[in-house]
């Protein structure tokens, strides 16, 4: 793929705008809360788009297209039973506690609700994980640009990291969120035409269905048994593992996304953030997954398109998106498409950096290192942390390029840590008897259960490190779903048992933190389209419709 001068001009204009937005926002920053939490001042349409964009990193965009090519429309389960129901849940049920508690971060909520050790456990694992995942996506981006455009790995990684660093350093969370909105529109306007062009070239949905195996164009028909679908998952594992534990664990507890909603300018806006975000999120599969399916159909059609082969054999599905762009976009739109890819990377990375920043500054530094400093000191720490966070991500990117196995191992461990989280939050928010000791031991035993499940099972040669194999899964995806299910259940049961055996907090201490002791706003005076329940109902109906349409 070669770029013309006009493509570079577009990329340069984009860089100028994101930096400019950072520069303009800078004037508003005078306290650490301005920098780290946007002082709860952002309008709802902005927080909702930022809510999706922060998750829509380059790995998500490239990876979803790649999974579309590999698994077909089944990939949409990640949206249609995964993300969207969880987004409804956090908006309707959980946001009153996050926002109402006045916590500045998710770990801080755990501190208010439970105790210091639970917060520290969550804050430390979260901080380490964010830095690593931003480094890993930086590595993926550098590799992609090297492969597709022949750009130097170092140059593209350094340039993109430097730009994210400058605009988050200048304007903090507000700057990151504002830019995420620009990036969201760019991702949609840059990738949607590709989906339309590729699908129409492949003969529309009908033409694609005719050319592809049935399983590629159905979401539910083939999940009755794991051997019938390419993901190797069966309905229960899919619904409980992905649809419940993993998705709710991510969308309802991950500070990267929750932070966007917590920056909203009112409780009502905070609750509506994930609900409004659910509308565009529902249709994202048509932009990010369907092109991958079209790519497979096109490569069956002898029109001169093929998914490139991988060095070690098989097809390199990760290149589906960029090769489609090269075939369907002339110079000009090609620049827009690549800028959109860059934008998706930056939105993901800025999301990581701002979340890391807040957790480090408030939960670890202020919580454990220096408690009662003047606010100007924490603002300074937050600015320094931005630089340190980006530097650590860069270091991780280089580590990833040399020690791929370490990265795989760490991602596996992070998975173990994350799997039980949702049980802790669910119990913490809805059962006032839950105690800090219960939450802490529940999290640890959930993580241990996850590790044990992995160590005692086998899937595609992964696992088995505890010696014996109790069960063999048809795919690593099924294995992951079941690890999550066991981790969640263990955490749930242990948290309840230990809570019952330990002394609960008094009701006064739990005000605005737990269901039953919190005033849930009903917003009766607002018009229906500004109330959470009607919005959630519309999304649910549309969601059921989508599932039936692609059944």
């Amino acid at each position: 793929m070669t770029l013309a001068p006009v493509d570079y001009v577009i990329l340069a204009i984009y860089f100028a705008f994101v930096l400019g937005i950072g520069w303009i926002v800078k004037r508003r920053i005078s306290s650490s809360e301005d920098f780290l939490t946007s002082h709860r001042s952002v309008p709802v349409w902005i927080t909702s788009l930022a809510f999706i964009a922060a998750n829509l990193g380059a790995q998500e965009v490239v990876g979803m297209c790649s999974s579309g090519a590999k698994y077909g429309i089944m990939t949409a389960h990640f949206y249609w039973i995964g993300a969207v129901p969880a987004m409804l849940f956090i908006g309707v049920f959980m946001m009153p506690f996050y926002y109402g508690s006045r916590a500045r971060s998710v770990p801080e909520y755990l501190k208010l609700r439970f105790d210091e050790k639970t917060r520290a456990l969550n804050a430390i694992t979260f901080a380490v994980m964010t830095v690593f995942s931003s480094g890993i996506s930086m590595y993926a981006l550098g590799l992609l640009f090297q492969l597709v455009l022949g750009w130097s790995f170092t140059a593209s990684v350094l340039l993109s990291a430097a730009i994210v660093l400058i605009y988050t350093f200048l304007g903090g969370l507000t700057s990151a969120i504002y830019n995420e909105v620009l990036q969201f529109f760019l991702i949609v306007l840059g990738f949607a035409p590709l989906a339309i062009l590729a699908v129409s070239k492949a003969g529309g949905w009908g033409g694609m269905s005719a050319r592809l195996p049935e399983v590629m164009t159905h979401t539910w028909t083939y999940v009755g048994s794991a051997s019938k679908n390419p993901m190797g998952v069966e309905a229960f594992g899919l619904m409980a593992g992905l649809g419940f534990v993993l998705s709710f664990g991510y969308w309802c507890t991950d500070f990267l996304v929750v932070q966007r909603a917590m920056a909203a300018n009112s409780m009502s806006a905070a609750r509506r953030t994930p609900l409004i975000a659910a509308f565009p999120k529902m249709v994202m599969p048509f932009i990010v997954i369907v092109p991958g399916i079209a790519a497979v159909a096109l490569s069956h059609m002898s029109v001169g398109y093929a998914i490139p082969p991988k060095a070690g054999g098989g097809l390199d599905y990760d290149q589906a998106l960029t090769t489609l762009m090269a075939q369907f976009y002339p110079s000009g739109m090609l620049g827009v498409g690549l800028t959109a890819l860059m934008a998706s990377f930056m939105s993901g990375m800025a999301g990581n950096v701002t979340a890391f920043n807040t957790v480090w500054t408030y939960d670890l530094y202020q919580g454990h290192i220096r408690k009662n400093a003047p606010d100007s000191h924490y603002l300074w720490v937050a600015r320094v942390t931005t630089v340190v966070g980006v530097a650590l991500s860069l270091a991780t990117a280089y580590l990833a390029s040399h020690f791929n196995n370490i990265m795989d191992f760490l991602q596996l461990v992070f998975g173990f840590v994350n799997a039980p989280l949702f049980a802790t939050f669910l119990l913490g928010m809805f059962w006032k008897r839950t105690t800090g000791h219960g939450a802490f031991t529940g999290l640890l035993s959930g993580t241990a259960a996850a590790a044990a499940t992995h160590g005692l099972t086998l899937a595609e040669n992964k696992g088995r490190w505890l010696g014996s194999v109790i069960h063999e899964f048809p795919s690593t995806m099924a294995q992951n779903f079941w690890i999550a299910i066991f981790a969640w259940s263990t955490c749930f049961v242990v948290t309840i048992l230990v809570s019952l055996a330990s002394r609960p907090k008094r009701d006064e201490e739990l005000r605005d933190l737990v269901y039953g002791l919190t005033d849930i706003p009903h917003d009766r005076d607002l018009p229906w389209y500004k109330r959470p329940l009607p919005l959630a109902a519309i999304v649910s109906v549309a969601l059921i419709g989508l599932n039936l349409l692609f059944w």
Binding site: A4, V6, V9, I10, I13, Y14, F17, G20, I21, I24, V25, I46, Y178, V181, L182, F185, L189, P193, L197, K201, L298, V303, G304, Y305, A326, Q327, F328, Y329, P330, S331, G332, M333, L334, G335, V336
Partner: protein, 60 residues
């Protein structure tokens, strides 16, 4: 910046204009596509940018 819609509007109007003009001036075509992708996509972005600017003006 009073309203985020202003910079977003300017950005897409500008990019849309550049892409649409490229479409008219170069008649550049992608390998698998015979339509003038630049012209149509450029106009779409121009309209989107204009809409954002109009919304920002209206509420100012």
């Amino acid at each position: 910046m009073r309203d985020l819609r202003t910079p977003i509007g300017i950005f897409f109007a500008l990019i849309g204009l550049i892409v649409a003009v490229t479409g008219v001036a170069t008649e550049g075509r992608a390998p698998l596509e015979t339509a003038n992708v630049n012209l149509y996509c450029g106009l779409t972005m121009l309209v989107f940018g204009g809409l954002m600017l109009w919304l920002a003006r209206r509420s100012a």
